[in-house]
Symmetry: C2
Subunit: 239 residues, 2 copies
């Protein structure tokens, strides 16, 4: 990670060490998402439990990054561009921690749907959404590692795709619930899982904004969301 | 806010100014919750819109606190206890920003349930839960302002009450959905609102943990510590 174009200083190894921690934390978050979705699809309670337990590692890393970053600021008194990098690292660690939490939330539902029949069609949809979301996360972590603002902007723009998929999945699950009220409980669990994935993608988008901030020194403001009231299913899922 | 027992230094006015910002941000978050719930209960779309618009002020305050705190660290190079106060302020600002987001999420649903019949019983339950949650937030902000660790611990312990109320409300809404599938869409909106309140209470609990951290210099842990050896970057370095 190297955006600010400053000349190499003694500060760099510290920043690189923080960037390395962020990369590892990102890898951990990715793995948690994969594991949580797999546990859900396969209704594998033990796997879900491992995801729940592993979330503590992500929380721990966030705290460690925070403490090191702040200790670094206090010790080095960095100037503007360096300071911006440390601030961005703090923000990104925070977003990754939230993503980890959301993966844990999905994992917590695994045991709750354990004995019920998961509809194949919805599970395929959920898997598809998870794949899209993971690609967003991987791309944004990549854009961070390689200082690729264009790639970060792509992630930022593609958040809409995740939102659209989320809306259509919501509609599908909702229809199933209405057709067979016996599936309501299961449907609610699925809706929360879908929503968790959608929020993860939002956090990936926030990371894209931090990558932009790092490179340009200014905040990227988000375009207004479409008027959801004309789109009932989208309206249902978008908050 | 004064926990660390250091002698008065030139650092104090800066910290006090940050603490003042946190108190203001907390007040804003409280107001947002009240307004969002009232807008929902009264199905007042305009009021909901004002809550949505006002969230930007909370986001702005978080960024402002973050920037000032970090500028303060860079300029003053505080020692351990002072540094801990600044870190706690950063964390608390982050929690309050998340609470604001959740209030906004509730407000966004106001227009969506606008034309539907909200069941009185569930709305009373939701209002009750919001009251309990607000008490938690007020108490924890109070514990912060008066360095009252005992009060913070009370908040931490009472999170269970919110969780219990959340579970019983969920069951109630779920039953209504099963009895009358025509209420499924409305029910889903309510479930997400209930869940948002429950998560706000979690953030209040996190603030309680920060108050504890400020006073004692150690983290109040809810789960066993992770195995650091599974985290290469951390294990490699001096942690």
């Amino acid at each position: 990670m190297k955006f600010s174009g400053h000349t190499t200083t003694a500060f760099d190894p510290d920043l690189q060490s923080l960037a390395q921690l962020i990369a590892e934390m990102g890898g951990l978050a990715e793995r948690q998402i994969v594991e949580a979705i797999q546990a859900l699809i396969k209704r594998d309670g033990a796997r879900g439990q491992r995801v729940i337990a592993a979330d503590a590692a992500i929380d721990f890393m966030q705290r460690a990054i925070e403490e090191r970053a702040i200790e670094l600021i206090a010790r080095r008194q960095p100037m503007a561009a360096d300071l911006r990098e440390v601030v961005a690292i703090l923000r990104i660690a925070n977003e990754l921690e939230r993503i980890g939490d959301l993966a844990k939330n999905i994992a917590k539902r695994v045991v709750l749907v354990d004995k019920e029949q998961l509809p194949r069609r919805s599970m395929r949809g959920l898997n598809h959404m998870a794949t899209l979301m993971l690609a967003q996360l991987r791309d944004v972590l990549d854009s961070l590692a390689h200082s690729d603002v264009g790639k970060a902007m792509d992630v930022w723009r593609h958040d809409e795709d995740v939102d659209r998929l989320c809306a259509s999945l919501f509609q599908e699950v909702l229809t199933a619930m209405m057709e067979d009220p016996g599936t309501i409980t299961l449907g609610i669990h699925l809706l929360f899982c879908i929503k968790n994935l959608e929020r993860m993608a939002d956090h990936a988008t926030n990371i894209a904004e931090s990558v932009y901030y790092l490179a340009r020194g200014e905040t990227l403001t988000r375009a207004p969301k479409p008027d959801v009231n004309s789109m009932p299913a989208l309206a249902l899922s978008s908050y």
